[in-house]
Amino acid sequence: MREKNLKALLVLLIFFLMDTAKPFAYSLITEFTFLGVILICLNYPLKISFLFSAGFGYLKDVICNDTTNFSLFEFSIAAVLIHYFLRNFHGKAVKILIFLGALLVHIIVNNFHISRAVYFFSFLFFIHSSIIFLLVNRLFQQWLYNEPKNNNVFQ
C-alpha cells in the first residue's frame, strides 16, 4: 500500500511540475494537477485521496499566490464528492460520468472565479482535458495501479 501511495504522490508531483513548467506553453489547454487529483480520487481510498487533493490544492494556491485558498477547497470538496458518488452509484459508466461531471464543475467554478464566461476556451479545455486524461490513464494504469493492461480505470 505504501508503494502505491508513493506512486500516486510521484504522479501528482510530475503533473504539478508540468503545470508550472508548461512545456507546451498555452497551446495545450489543460490542468494536469486537476486531472491527477481526479485520477487518484477514482482509484484510491477517501483518506489518501483527500490528503493528496488538499495538499496539492494548497500547493497550487501558494504558487498562484491565491489568498482565497480556492484550489484547496475545490480539490478537497471534489475528493469527497467523487467518493460519495462512487459509494452510492455503481455501474460501468459511473466513473466516466464522474470524470465528465468533475470537468464540467471545474469549468463552471473557474469561470466564476475569473468573473468571465469564456465559452470557446472552456470548450477547448473540456476537449483537451478529456483526451489527456485518456492518454494519461492508459500510460500510467499498469505502473500506478499494478494491474493488467486491459483493466483500465473506466472498467
Partner: protein, 207 residues
C-alpha cells in the same frame, strides 16, 4: 577659343559654384541657429509649464522561471526583481518590441508578469491615430472597450500605447473585429496581438 578665354570661363564657373555653396552654407547655418533657438525655447516652455523631461528608454532582459499552475490565468514568474531595479507596473515587450504584459508583483529576486491575455489585464490604448479605449485581456479574445462610436476605427488599425515619460509608441496588435456595444453607445473591438507566442522569445522589461 583661346586658352586664356577658356581659363577665364572656368574660373567664372568655379566662382559661381562657390557662391552657390556659400549661400547654401549660410542658409543651413541659419536653419541650425533657428532649430537651436526653438529647442531652447521649447526647453524654457517645458520648465515654465512644469513638464517632466523625456526619459531615455532602458531595457532589462529577463527569462521566465515558471508559470502560474492555473490555465485560467496568464501569469508568469520572471527571474528578476528589485535587484535589477524592476518596479510594479513596468511593461514587458518581446524581442520585436511588441507588448507582452506588465509586472504586477515585484519581489527581491523575482517578479510576477501578467500577460496581455490574462482576464484581469487592462490598459488604456490608442487605436489608429486618435481613438482611445480600454484594452482588457481575455482567454477567448483580447478586447478594447469604451470606444466612442464617432471615432473612426477601422479594421487592421494599429493598437498602441505610450508609456508616460517615454516618447516611443509600443505596439500591441491590430483591430480584428468591430462590434457595436449592446447599449449602442460604444464600440467593442477584438484585437489580434502582434506577439502571438511571446513565451518562445526573449523578454525585455522597459524601465
Amino acid at each position: 577659343m583661346s586658352f586664356s578665354n577658356q581659363r577665364l570661363l572656368s574660373t567664372q564657373n568655379s566662382s559661381k559654384v562657390i557662391e552657390e555653396l556659400k549661400k547654401k552654407n549660410l542658409a543651413l547655418l541659419l536653419a541650425v541657429r533657428k532649430s537651436q533657438t526653438l529647442a531652447d525655447e521649447n526647453e524654457k516652455l517645458k520648465k515654465a509649464l512644469n513638464f517632466k523631461e523625456d526619459k531615455k528608454m532602458e531595457l532589462t532582459g529577463v527569462e521566465i522561471a515558471s508559470f502560474n499552475p492555473s490555465i485560467w490565468r496568464r501569469l508568469a514568474v520572471i527571474n528578476a526583481g528589485k535587484d535589477k531595479g524592476l518596479k510594479e507596473g513596468m511593461f514587458a515587450v518581446d524581442s520585436d518590441g511588441f507588448l507582452i504584459g506588465k509586472l504586477v508583483e515585484v519581489r527581491n529576486n523575482f517578479s510576477r508578469l501578467m500577460l496581455i491575455d490574462d482576464p484581469e489585464f487592462s490598459l488604456p490604448v490608442y487605436i489608429g491615430s486618435d481613438a482611445l479605449g480600454l484594452l482588457s485581456g481575455g482567454l477567448d479574445a483580447v478586447k478594447i472597450q469604451y470606444i466612442d462610436i464617432s471615432d473612426n476605427v477601422k479594421l487592421n488599425d494599429i493598437v498602441w500605447f505610450k508609456i508616460p515619460l517615454l516618447s516611443y509608441p509600443i505596439y500591441a496588435g491590430r483591430v480584428r473585429k468591430i462590434n457595436e456595444n449592446k447599449n449602442g453607445l460604444f464600440l467593442d473591438v477584438d484585437v489580434r496581438l502582434f506577439s502571438q507566442n511571446p513565451l518562445t522569445k526573449k523578454i525585455f522589461i522597459i524601465k
